[in-house]
């Protein structure tokens, strides 16, 4: 009965969104069409090429399933209970007799159902790729079982974390961090230390390494039916772990956890201790707010960042630990390399330099990724928080201009990202060690991560540090545009990672192996596009239509990609800043924009005159009549905001 209630509330409205399914089916159909056309061209004259293409496509599709499914589970799961808590409906559920464990289990089920809709859409092109050859049914079975296994774990973990959090903005970064720490880190770490070949050349090995249970069962080392059996038991282990997590979350909700969320005092205590021990280091994370007379918006935002609450605030200590831990790991690895420890033994076809870079890159890339996700979540709340608390109206009435508000917030968040500059230190040390080992400062070596040159770590480090500009720009733009915290958070992720993906694709397509010349070309192209985009954006007084905004964003993506890792973030930053500053007042006053969120919101059943789904009492006739009045429906909608 309880499961039915959750399904009615969470799943059925989603399944009724026919357009979503039509769109996804269309995507899957288009993908299948491309596969067929691509594979069909070689199918009749070159079976080997067809087989190779089928294998590659299947791998890509499997990875797409894994990433989309895992992230969908993580995001949906992280907001499953915290969003109920935000709406004060958790206590209503419990008072209505909902059993705690089943509430969590139902939420996990709903998350999996919704995430499965995404994953299943990819089955069609996957089947076509499998038909082309290159992979066996056994391979596919192992791959699908691994994806299912990870999704079950991710859903249960995220929902459990959600049960601990007060707000979605706390739950999402916490969920992602813990998911990565528990499910991805073991695989990445073991892969970094032991090398991919230790896990076999089996195509699913890459996927499997991203999951602790399947990894421990050693699927990658096995073949045929044994691998299927190991993958199956990996799924069983995942389900068992999910049940344990759900029981723990249910037990938490059964106590006072359903109604009150305590602050994580140990985290704050640790924060205080570390701050006292290393005041200079921690000042990097907590800059003094400054003078309110000079820049009130910056002053306010720095206080807000410094005093973030609960888990959300706890993230600041996680940031510190991440960076501190990452640097320590890099130093230890470098020292081991310097001392000629066994880990520096060159892999076949590679060199000590490449190997060293791999070791240092692994933890640092992870640190940068996790810090960036946490940062994006925080920054995406910069404006939406003002809208949701009603402060934006009050800010508009002050003498602060839109330019000042945007600029102050941007500066605060760019500064908040800057501690990642520390990453440049171990990378510099890495370059120094490599130089000492080889004696050739610009020698190029090949490794499993691609082509490295000694110039690249420095450039990349600078790109990482400067990518704070891009992250802050993307997050604040999404926050201002979408107004609602959760939407802004998701939009930020897309806005930020989309240009990164474009950048990666571009780099791959133009990479000639010469780091320096590639960098110069990219910088020149980027500088040109940057100037054109900035000029074009400034010449326009505002994006009057969404198409214009999309066009500008697309240009920014291309500009960022072409500008390379150093100038790219600046392009995004400047475009986002220009868009926000030029459109600030018009955007807030423009009615259509202001009401966009309300009007886009799908109509609730009672608003459209439909019957209530959750009550056996039905709707009293006089209320039903009023609810069916078109004017009443509009009032309800408009009052949602005003």
């Amino acid at each position: 009965m309880q499961l039915e209630a959750v399904v009615l509330k969470d799943v059925l409205p989603y399944l009724q969104a026919r357009r979503t399914f039509i769109r996804r089916t269309a995507y899957a159909g288009a993908a299948a069409f491309v596969v067929i056309i691509g594979g069909g061209g070689v199918a009749f004259d070159n079976a080997k090429a067809q087989s190779s293409m089928g294998g590659t496509l299947f791998n890509i599709i499997l990875w797409a399933m894994l990433i989309s499914g895992t992230f969908e589970c993580a995001f949906l799961g992280a907001t499953a209970i915290s969003s109920e808590r935000q709406r004060n409906t958790v206590d209503v559920w419990i008072l209505a007799g909902m059993e705690h464990f089943w509430m969590v289990a139902a939420k996990v089920g709903c998350v999996l159902t919704r995430a499965a809709a995404v994953v299943l859409a990819l089955v069609v092109p996957g089947a076509v790729a499998l038909y082309l050859g290159g992979r066996t049914i056994t391979d596919a079975t192992v791959g699908f079982l691994a994806v299912a296994s990870i999704m079950v774990f991710a859903a249960a973990l995220s929902v459990s974390i959600s049960s601990l959090c007060r707000r979605n903005a706390d739950a999402v970064p916490a969920s992602l961090t813990i998911l990565v720490a528990t499910a991805v880190v073991p695989g990445v770490a073991l892969n970094a230390w032991a090398g991919a070949k230790a896990w076999g050349s089996h195509f699913a090995a890459g996927v499997i390494q991203f999951h602790p249970f399947t990894l421990l069962l050693g699927i990658g080392e096995q073949r045929g039916q044994e691998a299927v059996s190991a993958a199956f038991w990996g799924l069983v282990a995942s389900i068992a772990m999910a049940i344990v997590l759900m029981i723990m979350a249910g037990a938490h909700l059964r106590g006072e956890g359903a109604f009150t969320i305590g602050r994580i005092q140990p985290v704050r205590a640790l924060d205080r201790v570390l701050t006292k021990m290393f005041p200079s280091f921690f000042r990097l994370f907590k800059p003094a707010p400054g003078n309110p007379d000079v820049d009130p918006a910056l002053w306010r935002e720095r206080i807000a960042i410094d005093r973030s609450k609960a888990l959300y605030g706890g993230m600041t200590i996680i940031d510190k630990l991440l960076i501190g831990g990452g640097i320590t790991a890099a130093f230890v690895q470098t020292a081991m390399g310097w001392g000629g420890a066994g880990v520096l033994a060159p892999s076949p076809g590679g060199s000590a330099t490449a190997h060293l870079l791999e070791y240092i890159y692994a933890p640092l890339v992870l640190v940068v990724f996790l810090y960036t996700v946490g940062f994006l979540v925080r920054a995406s709340q910069a404006f939406s928080r003002e809208f949701e608390s009603g402060q934006m109206d009050l800010l508009q009435l002050t003498r602060l201009s839109g330019e000042e508000i945007v600029s102050g917030k941007l500066r605060a968040y760019v500064r908040h990202y800057s501690p990642l500059l520390i990453i440049a230190v171990p990378l510099g040390l890495c370059a120094f060690v490599t130089l000492a080992n080889n004696g050739e400062p610009f020698s190029t070596t090949q490794s499993q991560y691609g082509t490295f040159s000694l110039g690249v770590p420095w450039v990349t480090a600078a790109g990482w540090a400067l990518s704070g500009f891009a992250a802050a720009g993307a997050a604040l733009l999404a926050s201002l545009y979408f107004m609602i915290g959760t939407r802004a958070m998701f939009a930020t992720m897309v806005l930020y990672f989309l240009p990164t993906v474009v950048l990666m694709l571009f780099l791959r397509s133009v990479s000639s192996g010469s780091g320096l010349s590639q960098l110069i070309v990219q910088t020149l192209i980027g500088a040109f596009i940057l100037s054109r985009v900035a000029y074009w954006a400034r010449a326009h007084m505002g994006f009057k239509s969404r198409h214009e905004c999309l066009l500008l964003t697309a240009m920014a993506c291309v500009g960022a990609a072409a500008s390379g890792p150093v100038l790219g973030p600046f392009v995004i930053y400047l475009v986002a800043k220009t868009l926000m500053q030029k459109n600030f007042n018009e955007f807030l006053l423009h009615e259509a924009d202001r009401y966009r969120i309300i009007l886009r919101r799908p109509a609730l059943s009672y608003e459209t005159g439909g019957a209530y789904m959750f009550t056996h009492l039905g709707v009293p006739p006089h209320i039903e009549r009023r609810l069916n009045m078109p004017q009443t429906r509009n009032v309800i909608r408009d009052e949602w905001k005003y």
Partner: protein, 308 residues
């Protein structure tokens, strides 16, 4: 101080304000009353320069809303109905931020913050985190925030909603103090008894249309005309009823609970004629009472409970 001229606001197919004409004079405390969805918040948002009207226009302190927003904004203090605060700031930081945002600097800012904290009785909470304040204190802090730049006009949208009786009394006392300081206040509230005590003028809006606007006494007189008068004589009440019914200013006279209930015509000036009229005819009067309508009676009588 505040004038609207055929102010109209439409949201898609919803007419939130329909040709609103309202005048608030300098020094008035104008109570703006109406059921939920009547258009009160929309009016206030337009006057606070946060929304643009669909047609018509409004003036605040002689400046036109929309065209002269830069001049209007420093002159108004606005407190929205949905009042959120920066929970992560201390009370003095919160006020410092808004004072700085209004370009009030240095010692002057400190002095003003001291003053508004004293006025709102939050001096003892200066270093407290905003999130730790009670709802009533947060409302007072909101009022303090609206006062930091010493505005001439205060636009307060339901400042007492959700407050307990003590907090409501405190807010009311504070508003009286502001009235004595010469501020012009436009205030909406659902607690009508409170407005009755506080306001010298009221406007009643329903379905986007202003049904009534004027002083509380005017509206009371107007409503009083429609109310019934209880009369009881020591002799035969039936005869007295018949006599009253003959009077041209009496619309109906009916026996009710051992007395007579008299309803006057629209043309009747007041009920003072009844006593001499009955005495002249030999009746000795035991009771002559007209129920004093309060703002709730007025509100219920004027409005029909429909929303736009």
């Amino acid at each position: 101080m505040i004038k609207t001229f055929n102010l109209t606001k439409a949201y898609k197919n919803l007419l939130a304000l329909d040709r609103l004409n309202m005048v608030v004079e300098d020094g008035d405390i104008y109570g703006y009353i109406g059921p939920n969805g009547a258009g009160k918040t929309t009016t206030m948002k337009i006057l606070a320069t946060l929304l643009e009207p669909t047609s018509g226009h409004a003036e605040v302190c002689g400046y036109r809303v929309g065209k002269d927003n830069k001049h209007i904004r420093p002159l108004i203090g606005y407190m929205p109905d949905f009042f959120g605060v920066y929970e992560d700031m201390r009370v003095d930081e919160y006020l410092t931020f808004f004072a700085a945002a209004y370009r009030i600097r240095g010692d002057k800012r400190k002095r003003i913050i001291d003053d508004v904290l004293e006025l709102t009785d939050l001096g003892g909470k200066r270093d407290a985190m905003v999130e730790s304040l009670s709802r009533g204190m947060q409302q007072r802090l909101g009022l303090a925030r609206a006062l930091v730049h010493d505005p001439k006009v205060l636009i307060l949208d339901e400042p007492s909603s959700g407050l307990d009786p003590r907090a409501r009394i405190e807010i009311r006392a504070l508003l009286k103090e502001l009235k004595n300081m010469g501020k012009t206040i436009l205030i909406s509230s659902h607690i009508l008894s409170e407005l009755q005590e506080l306001c010298n003028k009221v406007g009643i809006i329903e379905k986007g249309t202003l049904l009534f606007s004027g002083s509380v006494d005017e509206v009371r007189n107007q409503i009083r005309r429609g109310t019934s008068i209880d009369v009881r004589v020591s002799g035969d009440n039936e005869m007295a009823r018949a006599a009253l019914e003959m009077h041209p200013d009496v619309q109906t006279a009916t026996l009710d609970n051992g007395g007579i209930k008299v309803n006057l015509t629209e043309k009747a000036k007041d009920h003072t004629f009844i006593a001499p009229y009955l005495l002249e005819r030999g009746f000795s009067l035991e009771l002559l009472k007209q129920e004093e309508p309060d703002l709730e009676d007025i509100f219920m009588r004027v409005t029909k409970g429909v929303v736009s």
